[in-house]
């Protein structure tokens, strides 16, 4: 009677149209460009994806909660600035490579703090997260400019800027960090109490309150997680560039939200998962990489991505209409 349990690959793809799409573009670029199907290029894709991917993990939690965080790009820039600048503070001058430790810790703390402030305001004032984080986006970006004096910081410690080139066996460290975080967030969301509550709060806030979930603090935790991930992403990005620029992470919130939505997370909350988000992030990564290899001008990438976003969401609606009780709503 129950055919809900036997999940064939085809069925799985229909539920997660984005992975079908990932497969498609993968095959497409493998055929179209001789440079694409190359093991080094895959490493590239993973490293390039990791920046947006890390933030997208946090955004998935926040969006399932029924919130959104527009301030991630600015948080990323602020954290990167701290990470690079603190290393050269006089008090750490004699620490050698250990300089990196307080710098990175402080940068990550700043990220968590920004998230906590966002979450606290959303909790206490009840103002929409969209508005709160829009304000935070402007405010934090302003802080970055104040802090950096509108110029870039350069990393003086070479161990720092070499970090991004490290590999463990065949895997670049940055990709490993991203994959590890993906696994952890996936487990948190799908297997822990916090994850369960994330769905409940986004799905029906009133029912969640009635079930004894403290919705405010719960949402704040998710904002802190995304703050942390944005900061981590900023740190890793600055190791790749060996510098922190005040404009770092501009528009990243849009890329991140696009990736998460492509992955099937609903803007209204209550629905979504990390597997989908990973698909969304990879889709964008492969597309940008592939078109780059084929020397398609960058602005076409936007046009194509926009069309794909709409197409994938349309397919999702077609295949998964039963989610609305099969009604034509």
């Amino acid at each position: 009677m129950s055919n809900l349990t036997d999940i064939t690959p085809l069925r799985w793809l229909m539920r997660n149209p984005i992975w079908g799409f990932v497969l498609l573009v993968f095959i497409f670029f493998s055929l179209m460009s001789e440079h694409f199907f190359d093991y080094r290029n895959f490493q590239n894709i993973l490293v390039q994806t990791s920046t947006i991917g890390l933030i997208a993990l946090g955004m998935t939690l926040v969006m399932i909660n029924g919130n959104i965080d527009l301030s991630v790009g600015a948080t990323l820039a602020l954290a990167a600035a701290f990470a690079v600048d603190v290393q050269s503070w006089a008090m750490f001058a004699t620490w050698g490579n250990w300089q990196i430790l307080p710098a990175v810790s402080l940068a990550l703390l700043v990220g968590i703090l920004m998230g906590a402030i966002n979450g606290f305001i959303v909790w206490k004032t009840g103002v929409d997260a969209f508005i709160v984080t829009l304000g935070a986006m402007l405010g934090i970006r302003g802080l970055v400019f104040v802090y950096t004096g509108e110029s870039s910081f350069y990393a003086m410690n070479f161990a720092y800027s070499d970090f991004s080139a490290l590999s463990v066996g065949p895997f670049p460290v940055l990709a490993l960090i991203f994959l590890a975080c993906t696994l952890i967030v996936h487990l948190v969301l799908s297997r822990t109490v916090h994850g369960r509550n994330t769905y409940a709060v986004g799905g029906n806030r009133e029912a969640a309150v009635n079930a004894g979930i403290r919705v405010g603090p719960h949402m704040m935790v998710n904002f802190m997680i995304i703050g942390f991930l944005a900061a981590l992403s900023g740190v890793l990005l600055s190791t790749q560039m060996g510098a922190a620029t005040p404009n770092l992470g501009r528009d990243y919130e849009l890329w991140v939200i696009t990736a998460v939505v492509l992955g099937g997370t609903k803007l209204t909350g209550g629905k979504g998962d990390i597997i989908g988000t990973l698909g969304g992030v990879l889709a964008i990564g492969i597309l940008r990489n592939g078109m780059n290899l084929m020397q398609v001008p960058a602005f076409y990438v936007y046009v194509i991505l926009g069309s794909i976003l709409i197409a994938v969401l349309f397919l999702d609606k077609r295949f998964n209409r039963t989610a609305n009780g099969g009604l034509r709503l």
């Binding site: 809900l4 349990t5 822990t192 109490v193 009635n210 034509r328």
Partner: protein, 504 residues
């Protein structure tokens, strides 16, 4: 009913399947003009689905819809309405930010040139309809500001915008007061007199027997038969519906009462209720009876930390407590099964199991992770106890039938093993079989030492489950009865605000 007459509507061999569920399995159904045809069946039997097929919201896999002799295909509710078929939903489906008038004419607003809304006509017409329904509000008010019962009236008013051939009422009385029910029944009889065919879905036998001319019974999606109301009785209908008779006697098995678990002293929250004092002992069921709007739900919400009282004390086990949030109440062992289960109790996008274990997942972990096995065990237990119909625990609760959604919420709080269980209208929308299951379950819980508070607007229900009955009228306790002293008359007097010489 003359046999040669053409039915206003006929459904032939309707089949509708959903993934994992055969919701309708060759159902036949017909309504004559000027007939009230009741549709009965357990929760999940397929009543609402059948009506949604009829109203163009679902496409049947097989079968025919015949209106006035002609087979038709309807793909949207607007098309169905054009054919004269109007469905009044089990769940309210109004736009809360719009005015009542706009809601009544939603999708078919009267227009002036250039597509501008003709507000004068709109308000004129909708006010005329509201007047016919004896409503004490006007079409200009925003729906969000109306009480649930009045919102229901707006929903009903929608049916009167067209010359309906068939009007379907899907459990319309669930949230109406007795006075409003009378109005509704007048409307139904009025429609009937004008030759409209009525389909009436309800789990309340008394209504079915006063209103209907014929009764059709569904069971597990299959057609079980049609009876003429005048020639049958509740027992026969029940047997057709659930396959057995029901024992409706009161469970009189004595069990000893324990200490006072919950005590409330002079609790007030203006303007909802004032000077409320009562106590509940372990092993006792206290029924709160009164009209819809008497303040009972609000008291329950206060005890559960959803409202803050102006004054008064709440004592648990004899010591005063502060309850500022549901989390506090849950810690003290107080649970509330809310009245509005869909809005307050269910996360529709989550599956059955997760919904049921939501308040206690933090206690069901192994290491950092939630233990799926423990959760499924709880779900299975209460699925069997409450006879919840779902293909598996993975089903999202959105697609469950209305009654089964309610059962999930009830199961959720029962599985918490609270010390004080407050249930608000526990059997609203629940079929007769499960209703008596729930009554027995409440008695059994008391026997095991739980303190139970039952809020209900159904007299037979309070009489059947309570050891003591608190009668409320407009925010005040009028009288307290023990199960031995109570009579229907004195209860009715008390809840209508008539004070007798005796003071409780």
């Amino acid at each position: 009913m003359s046999d040669q007459q053409e039915p206003a509507l006929r459904l032939k061999g309707i089949v509708k399947t959903f993934p994992g569920v055969r919701a309708l399995d060759g159902v036949d159904f017909e309504v004559m003009p000027g007939e009230v045809h009741a549709l009965l069946g357990e929760n999940g039997a397929g009543k609402s689905t059948l009506m949604k097929v009829l109203a163009g919201m679902h496409q049947p896999d097989e079968g025919q819809i015949i209106i006035a002799g002609k087979p038709v295909r309807m793909t949207t509710p607007i098309e169905a309405k054009a054919q004269g078929v109007v469905l009044i939903h089990q769940e309210l489906s109004l736009v809360p930010e719009m005015s009542a008038a706009e809601n009544i004419y939603l999708g078919e607003l009267p227009l002036k040139r250039f597509g501008r809304v003709d507000w004068t006509t709109l308000f004129e017409r909708s006010n005329a309809i509201l007047k016919r329904l004896n409503c004490n509000f006007r079409g200009e008010v925003t729906v969000a500001n109306l009480s649930i019962a009045n919102q229901q009236m707006v929903e009903i008013a929608r049916a009167l915008t067209v010359d309906a051939r068939v009007v379907v009422f899907d459990e319309p009385t669930a949230s109406l007061t007795d006075a409003e029910k009378v109005v509704l029944f007048e409307i139904i009889n009025d429609l009937k007199a004008r030759g409209v065919g009525i389909v009436y879905i309800s789990h309340r036998m008394d209504e079915i027997f006063t209103l209907s001319d014929r009764i059709t019974v569904l069971r597990d999606g299959a057609y079980r038969g049609t009876l003429t109301t005048a020639d049958t009785d509740e027992d026969e209908v029940t047997r057709l519906m659930i396959g057995r008779s029901l024992d409706l006697s009161r469970d009189t098995a004595e069990h000893s009462l324990g200490e006072v678990v919950l005590e409330v002293r002079d609790l007030s929250c203006a303007p909802l209720f004032k000077k409320i004092s009562f106590s509940v002992r372990a092993g006792e069921v206290v029924g709160f009876y009164g009209l819809v709007g008497a303040g009972r739900t609000e008291i329950a919400e206060t005890l559960f930390g959803l409202r803050s009282p102006d004054s008064g004390e709440i004592l648990v086990d004899g010591s005063p407590v502060q309850i500022n949030a549901p989390a506090d109440a849950i810690k003290l062992g107080i649970s509330l099964v809310p009245e509005n289960r869909k809005e307050q109790g269910l996360v529709l996008s989550m599956n059955c199991r997760d919904n049921m274990t939501l308040p206690q997942v933090q206690n069901l972990t192994t290491g950092p992770f939630v233990s799926s096995g423990a959760e499924i065990a709880i779900f299975d237990k209460y699925r069997d106890k409450l006879e919840i119909k779902t293909p598996s625990w993975r089903q999202t609760t959105r697609v469950l039938s209305g009654g089964n959604q309610q059962k999930i919420v009830i199961g959720k709080w029962l599985s918490m093993h609270p010390r004080v269980l407050i249930v608000d209208e526990p059997t609203r929308g629940i079929d007769v079989g499960s209703k008596s299951e729930i009554h027995m379950l409440l008695r059994a819980l008391a026997a095991q030492g739980y303190a139970v508070i039952v809020i209900s607007s159904e007299m037979p229900e309070v009489l059947r489950v309570s050891d003591r009955i608190v009668a409320m009228y407009s925010g005040q306790i009028m009288r307290e009865f023990t199960a031995e002293q109570v009579t229907e008359d004195s209860l009715v007097q008390a809840i209508s605000g008539i004070r007798t010489s005796e003071v409780a």
